[in-house]
Symmetry: D2
Subunit: 361 residues, 4 copies
């Protein structure tokens, strides 16, 4: 076991602190013979990087990924792929003032309670900067999934503003700084964030990820359930507080008749479902329908508004975060959530092939 | 790795099908010298068993647990604890009619898609009967946690009927067949379930589990996060579709100022928090506050109302489940959810001692 | 992780003490659709059981294995296979005298040092009785390997009596109580053991296992090496003190020219080797040649000759073991060593299919 | 699971190819608050590096290790420690001639058989260069073990020349280029290696590692046995073909009376043993005695003497290795073997604390 590794056969181990010399990861288990270059990874990192609009942190993180192993002449060799990003703009000076005080909503106190010490520079290991490596690993996972499986995310709620039911345009998602699938909502969210930023405040959000083309049969009963592992993967993203599959909490309010996803024989000769309340997973195993998952992010804890807290030695003090922080971490959480689900699916694709590679139905 | 094992240092491996000769589990990693007898486990199993009111399945499952190893003269020895429950009332005859047809909302089709075959008797491995072993393992986990840590659950919503904010009586939870902490809601839920049962229908529900007395410092950064593992543990329970920690999805609607759990120095000289929006976990590590988690269950998929589905060979047919099924699986999900969280906490207690056993703060 | 589990994708978890009510194991990861019945396992258990000649323990252990899960209508379902053997002849009375004294060469003292207590009945968890479940799991592993791969063992040395080079008759192995491949050695070993038994003494031995038909490509670099895992598997058998692959320790005395296994193109169009000093494994990966491994067993520690030792509270006492023990544990170690290698190979077959299932060469 | 990770709680994941831009590892699970700097690791790497005498490869590998994470202000933080060594002298040109031919004794053919392709530069992932990261990880493991536990190795045999029984001087080990504990043997080995080198040949060797100060109680029954994990750790080192604990294969030739390590009460009030045939491990658990392990290395496969082999497409060709290779890989294997055992012990120290941290005896 390792608390810094994710996945079983497609296994990602990340390392690095926000303001150390670099961050990186080791991706093990990738099948050999897959075309892979740094550009294949960089394109996904660029979607996550800050500073692309006024609504995300104004930090400049070029985040140029380097492949240090596991690729020869443009193909994966089956050995571990080591990825590294140098931390170019590590302004440790920003954080010296908070080294001995516990920022509310942050892991400062809990790290001290666990380890007896911590790296206070930029949150150290607890910084969302670590999620860059999740996105990088997700890029490799997508290569394993192949063109037939797509994993796409969108933001569906900022604060109390949620997009309407039935409105969803994937093309629009790439056209605005929020990954919003509803063009009509963009202006409202933009104004809302501007107001929050001026008020020294922040907001929570909800993201939704949809995986299409996933064949029936991925996942496993009981503790290796696809939905259980997706839930763990999403809840492990910084600031995540809730996870849903399919109808999620709304399913609690339904009756069995309403919730039933009845089956028919599809025109392609394969089973078809009349609904997808289940979000593409039954008994922990994919049904061949779209896999639908949502994750709720809490508001950014680092805000300019002064909050009351204590120091390591128990003195009560004010703290206000003046750094360059995202007012809504959920926005940049979208590519991270996509990446985590891609990793879970790649892992299960290999696990399924291991046990059931000779099943013919 | 194993899809049928849960936990890392406190590791539970379950086995068994609903209508096979027995179900069981192997619990590995339990510290030696802990007093343990079958009665310590049976008491928790009895809370989960069906047939205790008209609102749960009328199956008779005595579910007498046997300890086959790992205990000598009333104490754990540190070797694997094998638990077994014989399946006394396995009416396989009830299920022969559905062996070749896919019950909507069940794992029948997905098991076939994955394995090419399945054990159709009572759902085989996908049956909620497996959760009896989770409760049994949870009983051992509680022994590891000791008296200072309590893990308690309640049902807070059935269908659209949710208990009011601020109403919570732990004593009431044991006084009604729903684990409801709000005495005023019991009659309403009872009537609602009676009506559903008469209509051949079922309903979803939401459970909440609270762990008290958990010291600060349990959990781990990044992929071993306490909340991520709780989310995976709860989402892996049969019929679970959503998981929340602390404010959960409501946190998405809050601002950073509202969501901040400010800190003070408590009267006991330890840090105190003015709120617990975070649900007792910050950066994946426990804060010393109450850990609060919720899980949403979908309605029971097995209902007497006929549903349209297909057979294994593609014929469209009706299916109606006439067996003795819970109209609301969420009710019996409460002890299971408690047990899963107890297991996660016991695992993290051992993991914390391994790495940080010599930390003094 | 679990100290009582073996393998990764073909994963075996054993439980049980020598004189508890039963021993058992859970085998997870078996592909679905494999024909499997209790008789398929029993045949291998019968080869290991004691009392088949005067040279092994005279205990009567019928060791009837029961399959409790994971098999439906004679086929594996892909879910965990639970196996159980009741301990029918548990004469705990034999052991009460030694509950507080440490038998030399046994784990009595080290268990106490680790756990602070132990189950003294028949050695508890440290008893070689646990190896019955390894043989049972090995029977399932053989089913996964299929008919093309055979795993056979023989005893090649008892005490100082080693079979001559170049003498090996697999048919002879089944014809004598020693699994000896050299008919001429049987009488000598028989007399030697008779003499030792009369003298209240015991002896060590060396077993060799050969796996034929293993395709090139199984194993993995660095820490998942096939030879490393075979070494761990064999050294984990009770009483094992040494392990060799191919030439083993003799390779230390060779020169590079002598040790080179030169290559040619075989008549079947595949690479052929002129020697097999490497024992079928290069760089941790199988070469397609026979895999050859040896394991050295120390003499049985339980002997009638009195030995000097101490009690738990430090008094010096004599101890003589009067139970029904094998004078040469290596004999019954042969089927166990075979089983462990079958398990390693089955695990690697699944692991290879997971990562390299689409490799075409 | 991961084929490129070693250990469970003290977990090392290595990456990198011989002639890629760098090699490295991620060490997870290290307790916080341990003083650690690059110099603490470099000192052990320098013992392994080539070119320190004419008897090892004349490659120049400065092997300067960098710590990229997990350490703050000179102390471990409990987060993953990332180590990296740049490959400064990667003369890929040396290897282009052998890209399509299979070197006898090497993993060239088996990598191709497994992955369908390979990185031929310097052996890629199969190069012994990877062992530098084992030594680096071992340096951290030693920090966890503390001053009370020492892990030291020596070479006891080169070719057929083995040091005499009873001759062992630890001080001498650091005084000669062979890690030889017997001063009288140094000249003989030196002449022998000179002759082999002139003849374009190489030789095997045997190393012995002794761990002192290990408390009784480390290890675990059945599959987590300390000796089983040591055996796997040593057999996983490049060129290893045999492993022994304590008397090893010689134990097969002993009688039970000879092999018994009788016990007395020591002057310190703790149990004492009259012998250590067991090599410090009983039932998979340390006894408090010295842990003694040996590993046999085959001769270097890369030799200037031409050998006959085939190309990837089946043509028969000669191959002679003209690079700068060690004539006896066993010499540089000594620090690697030490490091592996230090890693196993550190892992078991944490595992023991997890389960048995509250045991008092």
């Amino acid at each position: 076991m390792s608390d810094n590794s994710f996945g079983h056969l497609f296994r990602v181990t990340t390392w690095g602190e926000s303001h150390g010399p670099a961050i990186g990861c080791v991706v093990d288990g990738t099948p050999p013979g897959i075309a892979l270059g740094e550009a294949d990874i960089q394109v996904w990192l660029d979607r996550r990087k800050p500073g692309t609009s006024r609504h995300t942190s104004q930090r400049r993180e070029p985040d140029r990924v380097e492949i240090l192993s596991g690729v020869f002449e443009g193909q994966t060799t089956g050995t571990p792929i080591s990825l590294l990003i140098h931390n170019e703009e590590a302004r440790s000076g920003d954080y010296t003032a908070i080294a001995d005080r516990y920022r509310p909503g942050h892991a400062d106190y809990t790290y001290d309670a666990k380890y007896g010490l911590r790296d206070p520079r930029g949150g150290g290991r607890s910084s969302a900067r670590e999620t860059a490596m999740r996105v990088a690993a997700g890029a490799i996972a997508r290569k394993i999934l192949g063109d037939g499986i797509t994993v796409r995310g969108a933001l569906i709620q900022i604060g109390s503003h949620r997009i309407g039911a039935g409105i969803w345009n994937w093309d629009e998602v790439e056209n605005n700084p929020f990954w919003c699938p509803d063009a009509a909502m963009v202006r409202l969210w933009s104004d809302h964030l501007d107001a929050l930023r001026k008020a020294g405040n922040s907001t929570g959000a909800v993201a939704e990820v949809v995986a299409s083309g996933v064949p029936a049969g991925l996942g496993a009963p009981v503790y290796g359930k696809l939905d259980a592992e997706i839930a763990g993967a999403l809840m492990g993203i910084n600031a995540a507080k809730g996870v849903e599959i399919g109808d999620g909490f709304a399913a609690a309010g339904l009756s069995g008749v309403e919730n039933a996803d009845e089956m028919r024989l599809g025109q392609d000769g394969r089973p078809a479902f009349l609904g997808n309340h289940a979000g593409g997973i039954l008994g922990g195993i994919s049904s061949g329908q779209e896999i639908v998952a949502r994750v709720a992010f809490k508001p950014t804890s680092s805000i300019p508004t002064p909050l009351r807290t204590i120091t390591r030695d128990g003195r009560e003090v004010d703290i206000a975060t003046t750094g360059r922080h995202d007012p809504c971490v959920g926005i940049r959480g979208v590519p991270v959530a996509e990446a985590m689900i891609a990793c879970v699916l790649a892992d299960h694709l290999l696990r399924h092939r291991a046990q059931c590679g000779s099943v013919r139905i």
